[in-house]
Symmetry: C2
Subunit: 263 residues, 2 copies
């Protein structure tokens, strides 16, 4: 077993922070379930770090699978592994991945037909849940703007249950987004507490065009720049006993409704 | 200003733990939004603790409102308030409430027509979100069993956005629950990855009877005891790209569908 240099471990540990991810253009994901998802979506890690002492049988099989796929696997002590892990009970394996880049031309591709925009979704759990629901309900791009959390932060990756490996994500500026929407003549649907009832979303016309669903923060909703571009503003019909729904729940309910309308 | 005894502060601080809440049969809730919700639902605190130095104008108004409603308000130093708070940025006010009790006869009342059962929902954020959606979609009772989080834990109360004040909640044993369901001839709808598609929930017959919607953990689903009592097992139709949805999202989507069917 070749020992792993301290500087390398320090680098991997830095991926737990936004600064480290930016600097190295990499992120990490740990645990059996997430790494299984990375394989399923053929989103290959640059390297896997593992500590044999904490590995379950399923974990050991996964390491073998990575080895067979010619992924570099590096053995660590339990203590070293804990130092690069973000969880209380590490499962003994951490993967390191290149940050994917999505370019403007890719976004313009007509394959990207169903887009979710998350504006000011700062809670990592909510963002991860929205990404998971997006993949579940047939969206293929998630755009992020404003103060939305970093989609490759450990909490977001975990809350997404590995869905970050299954779709394209891109951080965008509101101005660029508005241009993009105008240029592509995309239909914009905005979640808005003052909008029409979500019954409107059953309209079949949705299925004929590319569209973007925009979801904002619970407290403030979407910004005027985005709201003013909306072709349809929808609110989720519910009892008056609550003011609003959780942002991830609201976004997921709208995505489900769109999915049911189109499939 | 009469200083508050250290033993009293210790007691309030203990309400941040399950043990403390059980021992004193009380819980605490902090911040402007949550305490405004407690007023809206007339779920009155036994006392309010506040630190004038950190109170915003809205917070100061709220303190006045509690005083007018003859709620005991007790002034603390900022440091004392921080010691009884669970958040990083306390807003300067903490309310202390009696744990509500819900008795079996109350549950049997026919007013409790729409019940949500949470089995093994251990994540506090997911439980709070489910409680919030339950109130939003016309459910009036939330039952908790198995390893479900304590509904009066600070994180659950926060994630519920104060909905814990707006509906009845009760911890139940699975055995008692099954008896209750049999005795009341309640319709049981179970969230189940192997169930029928959720299109079935549009059936109008739902509206004519009392029913219970049961939601289990993402990993294991509902227990056989509950699944075997289900009149209808439903899964949420989604793409095969993900294995399952977040538990709070899944439960909320089913509640919304039921709400739309019945309203």
């Amino acid at each position: 077993v070749v020992p792993v240099a301290k500087t390398e471990l320090k680098k991997v540990r830095s991926l737990l922070t936004r600064k480290g991810r930016r600097e190295h253009q990499m992120f990490s994901a740990e645990g059996i379930r997430l790494l299984e998802e990375s394989i399923r979506f053929r989103f290959w890690p640059r390297a896997i770090y593992y500590a044999p002492a904490v590995l379950s049988d399923r974990g050991a099989k996964l390491i073998k699978q990575f080895k067979r796929s010619h992924i570099e696997t590096k053995q660590l002590t339990t203590r070293e592994l804990n130092s690069i892990s973000d969880t209380k009970m590490p499962q003994g394996l951490v993967g390191v991945f290149s940050l994917p880049e999505i370019t403007a031309p890719e976004l313009f591709q007509s394959r990207c037909r169903r887009l979710l925009l998350c504006e000011n979704i700062s809670d990592p759990g909510n963002l991860g849940t929205l990404i998971r629901s997006a993949l579940a309900f047939g969206f293929n791009v998630v755009l992020l703007c404003g103060s939305t959390a970093d989609p490759f932060a450990p909490k977001v990756v975990r809350a997404s249950a590995g869905s970050v490996f299954g779709l394209r994500m891109a951080q965008v500026l509101t101005k660029a987004l508005v241009e993009f929407v105008v240029n592509t003549r995309m239909t914009v649907i905005a979640a808005d507490l003052n909008g029409h009832s979500d019954d409107r979303l059953t309209d079949r016309k949705l299925g004929q065009r590319r569209f973007l669903l925009a979801v904002g923060s619970e407290a403030a909703g979407l910004s005027p720049e985005i709201l003013s571009r909306a072709d349809l503003r929808v609110r989720i019909r519910h009892s008056r006993n609550v003011e609003s729904l959780n942002a991830a729940v609201a976004g997921s309910i709208l995505m489900k409704r769109i999915y049911d309308t189109m499939n």
